[in-house]
């Protein structure tokens, strides 16, 4: 059941990306080009998404727990540390180079552009390297922590 619900929600999210134009790197790069061919559309994507989520989350959090889980899993880390500056700074450079962030890149998987197939494997490699960097106990060879 959870598989079907997640499949439908992934579809809904992806169709939102397609309808909004955010799945098109050309539109993203023009949004980021303030001093050139600026296309402010993506500000409306963020606006529509944030207002909907802001209202919807407030309704959802009135319930004691989610439908299919024991508790809401919300990030507990509120620290403004090095990671929250360095990570997004690196992410923003990659976003500005290719016009893809992770969601739109995934929606491009079946559409056949060569650039997508250069982007996606390296994105997954980067994600894996970041998890390895964050949790140094995680060894690429041993997937469970060694006994003390």
């Amino acid at each position: 059941m959870s598989f079907v619900v997640n499949l439908v929600l992934g579809l809904l999210f992806g169709i939102g990306l397609v309808v909004s134009g955010m799945s098109d790197p050309a539109k993203v790069l023009n949004f980021l080009d303030l001093f050139g061919t600026w296309d402010p559309s993506l500000a409306f994507v963020m606006g529509g998404a944030v207002v909907t989520t802001f209202i919807g989350y407030r309704l959802v959090f009135r319930r004691p727990k989610p439908v299919a889980a024991d508790a809401f899993h919300l990030p507990a880390n509120n620290a403004i540390d090095r990671r929250i500056l360095v990570g997004p700074a690196i992410f923003g450079i990659g976003w500005g180079l290719g016009g893809f962030c992770p969601g739109p890149a995934l929606t491009a998987t079946a559409l056949g552009a060569a650039g997508t197939y250069a982007f996606l494997p390296m994105m997954f490699l980067g994600m894996w390297l970041a998890r390895w960097t964050v949790d140094r106990r995680f060894s690429p060879v041993f997937t469970s922590p060694p006994a003390p």
Binding site: V4, G16, A69, W95, A110, A114, G115
Partner: protein, 142 residues
């Protein structure tokens, strides 16, 4: 040039928001694509892999379903500069997971929770993305 499309953009944004709200209502999880995609790879800290796989399959299938339903082609203009796209992918993948989120996790869900940490993250990636496009288009490409 791309056309300014505020209505389609707002409607699409609302659909993205609905997906995020329903994922929280169903599973109690943040709809952060970098978090979901990054945990498709081992090691697995929980049993949510099938759910994450399903969500990603939905993302992959979305343009196909959209095209079949509306009869219109999904337009994507992806750079054919393969080394550039490979570098972009590496930076996006590493940066989003190292910084615990991307446009969706920090930009949509984090801002909606009024998280200061996500606000800092969003302002930071917006700033470096604006600067990167400025350099690529108006300094290097000028």
């Amino acid at each position: 040039m791309t056309e300014f499309t505020p209505i389609a953009a707002t409607v699409g944004g609302i659909l993205i928001g609905l997906s995020a709200v329903l994922l929280m209502a169903w599973e109690g999880r943040i709809a952060g694509i970098s978090g979901i995609a990054g945990r498709l790879l081992p090691p697995y800290g929980d049993k949510a892999l099938p759910s994450r796989l399903a969500f990603v399959l939905g993302l992959v299938g979305a343009p196909l379903v959209y095209a079949a339903a509306t009869g219109s082609q999904v337009v994507q203009t992806v750079s054919a500069n393969l080394p550039l796209m490979a570098l972009a992918g590496l930076l996006v993948g590493f940066g989003s997971v190292y910084g615990s989120g991307c446009t969706s996790g920090h930009g949509v869900c984090g801002l909606s929770r009024l998280s200061v940490r996500s606000l800092v993250a969003t302002l930071t990636f917006m700033a470096t993305a604006f600067v990167t496009v400025f350099v690529v288009r108006h300094v290097v490409g000028a």
